[in-house]
Symmetry: C2
């Protein structure tokens, strides 16, 4: 937690904030080992970043005197990430990694090799997803929550939603064996598609290429989804 | 497990291999759902890769008819990674990520902000480290085990061992706030140093820069060690 992310409910007025939830209180005590007088980095969800002085810390709440929160959060990556739904534990970690890296639009997609049971996981509840996004923002000192969309059918996604997503974006399909190496230093708006463990099936690859995506690869090595997504984002942008 | 990594003990003769450990047997049954007749990718620790046909699979062993194992493993990254010892769970995952990405030399280093208790963790036993390296190799279809060295003192490392490591290698110190952005597409042999959660302390940064390392950063975002290491390797190489 390199930034204490405040919701609008936490802000009493433009000089004072109160934090009451056990997770952040525990972190302040156990990781920051904060004591009154300490200056910490704060930010408001969707807004700016600045410093706050810890005034009080007890089991029920922490209060902060706010200096003007006037710094912009770090710039986002110009990417919409379409990720075949990973297994629940991998999903949790991947949401944290990609949020920390600056992804702001995430679509979780069903594909042939996604186990149907993954769609029933408690990790997909809005509260759980929100929790992992917040952890990613707190890590990277960011305030802008990503938008997460669930697409439970591959064909409806490709036929219905993909054409609009590709308007004004360069579509990149990351898949082992594609002809081109992953490009570096891309600045254009990008739609990046990443398959599940085991990959997209050939029929899916054909549909995505037909829709206008370019196939790219990261080399001979087969990587776990969370490693591959981080590696792709770091190489692309 | 995209490759079944055989030890020399598993190889009966150049036509037949036997796998007996519960982990690989369970994986063959539950993940591969392998049945006799299936052809799977096999490799020998430190050696070549090829195909094998599953002959038998029972609770005690699996036997494979080996085709000539004649493919080279994927090329390694030209890097020696010096990593401040992460907390145990992060260490386990990071070893898997970097092994899958092709790192072959890893030094785990004590620094001021590494908790001393991490050095007592069971994750640091040779057996546990070996286990995570094997998982990384199996993931990436590689056979060459990384070498892992433990350096329990920062000053002895910097004064004793670092000068030799920097002979013939470009030293890159990844640390937030350094003046240069992480370079891309490096091909020269590199020594990459990555600090702990909370970073190197200023005195450590000075010693590493004095020793001839260049300071590099990954941008404003502060990343978890496992995300940062993957992102650095993917951007550098």
């Amino acid at each position: 937690m390199n930034l204490i992310l405040l919701t609008h409910d936490d802000i009493e007025n433009d000089r004072l904030a109160r934090v009451r939830d056990p997770r952040r209180l525990r972190h302040l005590r156990e990781v920051h080992r904060a004591t009154p007088g300490d200056r910490l980095t704060l930010g408001v969800v969707g807004g700016h970043i600045g410093q706050g002085e810890l005034l009080t810390l007890c089991d029920q709440e922490a209060t902060f005197a706010l200096s003007p929160l006037d710094q912009a959060p770090p710039p986002p990556l110009p990417v919409h990430l379409v990720l075949a739904l990973p297994r629940p534990r991998m999903l949790a970690r991947t949401l944290e990694h990609v949020t920390a890296l600056g992804v702001k639009q995430i679509t979780l997609l069903h594909t042939r090799r996604v186990e149907k049971s993954y769609w029933m996981s408690p990790e997909l509840t809005p509260e759980k997803i929100h929790h992992h996004l917040v952890l990613g923002l707190e890590q990277a000192r960011d305030t802008l929550l990503p938008e997460v969309t669930l697409e439970r059918g591959f064909r409806p996604f490709v036929e219905g939603r993909l054409p609009a997503l590709l308007e004004g974006r360069r579509g990149l399909l990351a898949h082992p064996g594609m002809p081109s190496a992953c490009p570096r230093g891309v600045e254009a708006p990008t739609l990046l598609l990443v398959g599940p463990e085991g990959g997209f099936i050939p029929w899916e690859v054909e549909r995505l290429l037909e829709a206008g995506c370019e196939g790219i690869h990261l080399g001979q090595r087969i990587l776990r989804v969370e490693t591959a997504v981080t590696a792709l984002l770091a190489r692309l942008f």
